[in-house]
Amino acid sequence: MIPFYFGPSANELFGAYDSPSGVSYRGVVLCYPWGQEYLCAHRAFAVLARQLAEAGHHVLRFDYYGTGDSAGTGLEGSLSRWRRDVELSLDEIQAMVELRSVALVGLRLGAALAAWVARERRDVDRVVLWDPVFDGNAYLDELLDKPGHVTTSTAYREDEAREGGEIYDVLGFPLTPTLREAIRKIRPVEYSELPRTMLLSTLDTRAGHAPLIAALETGKVDHTAEHVAGPIAWLEDREFGSGGIPVQGLRRIAQWLS
């Protein structure tokens, strides 16, 4: 793996590039989830990147602005900015290597970002939606309803005055009013007009994704929906302080993209 920074010098993003062993013209950009889910899922993403590279893909994963090793503070993150980061990463991998096809793989909130970008960019020919967030209100409820996970802080007072609302600290990740409002607008309909799509669920049953599948069908998206039970990559296993590795699920993603 080659680690590097890319993007505008004042706002650089951290990238991790895995190369295939042979000649290949296929690329994949991986889109992390947000917050504690990002920290937990990092382990599974590193494994997925290696598996995809072994299967013949150029793979780029990156940290959104204000997250992970990228520049910026958590308060500066927004869905519109992260969406631009996905686009920037697509441009970056295509500048690094010659590609004839490029796919996006997104987990949770990363799946929503991947879908938005895939809908707009003609160069994306496949997208994998892994346990996607497709109901913003339900996702916010999940984030905010966990006892002990959400606090407010006097340290945010100035930022709250600027934002015009309370900032919640979700296990160390600031959830600003701007970010909350943008997340609230995520609906199944956002997942229309996509290229070939794989919907992979590792937590919910297929029935839990019924609204999303209906939206894909209404939007005439060429899609496949699979449920692969296994460890959840984005939830913390208290024993290890990290998420699990859903071996079967990762294998299915690599198979489908190959």
Binding site: M1, I2, P3, F4, Y5, E12, F14, A16, Q36, L39, H42, R43, A46, T67, G68, D69, A71, G74, H149, T151, S153, T154, A155, Y156, D169, L171, G172, F173, E239, F240, G241, S242
Partner: protein, 286 residues
């Protein structure tokens, strides 16, 4: 400024070096190395290591955070035989890389949980280590500890049963370390750690132990002194952040932790001039 590197055998280890933006890193300051907390990759729990690295860089320190073999972005160990000694080999590789890349000569190691354990091991093994910050590092039972532990759990007879089981296990396996109550982590024998701390103090290594309220093997401020009465305390500072949990998940607790660490590092290693923090305020004069 952050820069990413692949280094070590086969360039399989991955790290990020944060250096001061405006002024060159102070040549005589040690480079700070942040070590993985369990399986959490090098950004640290709740991005703690990134925030800490950037604040320390604003004070003139270079800070390197990297992933040990098999954790985060780094490749798995190259040999199956790699075992308990792999972290030691990886940290040696990091120090050798920084010596070549950033002309670092001395180091302060810092880590939480297993990162604290690895900091201790390397501090003992390599004289280039001149300091260590150990977050929820080794601790052992004392009279004061057991009194508090069992008083708090006086209505919980399970604690008494576990105590007897643990003492029986220690009697049957005297060479092994003691697992503290309520926690899965095993520590080396206390006498070994005490001897090593004495060696470190004699070598002039500065040590900062910070314990959180998130572990139930450390329960009061003076427990460290009671654990290691023979260790001279001049080179050692101990703080107990009772209100914080093990990973400092709350913003206020992380801010307090970062403030404590930056102050300690500056007091311990910036001695020949006044220093000013990133906001241009005079923060401390030594």
């Amino acid at each position: 400024m952050d820069r990413a590197y692949a280094f070590g055998p086969g360039r399989g280890l991955i790290g990020v070096l944060t250096t001061p933006d405006s002024a060159p890193a102070r040549g005589d300051s040690p480079t700070v190395i942040l070590l993985n907390a369990g399986l959490v990759h090098h950004v640290g729990p709740h991005r703690l290591y990134v925030e800490l690295a950037r604040q320390l860089a604003a004070l003139g320190f270079s800070v390197f955070r990297f992933d040990l073999s098999g954790i985060g972005d780094s490749e798995p160990p190259r040999r199956e035989a790699a075992s308990d000694d792999q972290p030691v080999a990886d940290i040696f590789a990091a120090m050798n890389f920084l010596e070549a890349k950033a002309r670092s000569r001395t180091y302060v190691l810092m880590g939480l949980c297993s990162g604290a354990d690895n900091s201790h091991r390397l501090a003992v093994a390599d004289e280039r280590v001149v300091g260590a910050v150990l977050l929820d590092g080794y601790a052992y039972g004392t009279l004061g500890y057991y009194a508090r532990y069992y008083w708090q759990g006086v209505l919980r007879p399970d604690r008494g049963v576990r105590f007897i089981k643990r003492k029986l296990a220690a009697l049957l396996n005297p060479g092994e370390g003691e697992a503290m109550p309520g926690f899965a982590r095993s520590f080396p024998p206390k006498k070994k750690i005490e001897r090593e701390l004495e060696q470190l103090v004699a070598r002039g290594v500065r040590l900062y132990f910070i314990y959180s309220g998130g572990v139930d093997y450390y329960l009061y401020q003076r427990q460290f002194t009671d654990m290691f009465p023979s260790v001279r305390n001049g080179m050692i500072r101990v703080d107990y952040f009772r209100e914080a949990n093990h990973t400092y998940s709350l913003l206020e607790h992380r801010a307090k932790l970062i403030d404590a660490i930056t102050r300690w590092l500056s007091e311990a290693f910036v001695t020949d001039r006044d220093w000013t923090d990133a906001r241009g305020e005079q923060a401390l004069t030594t």
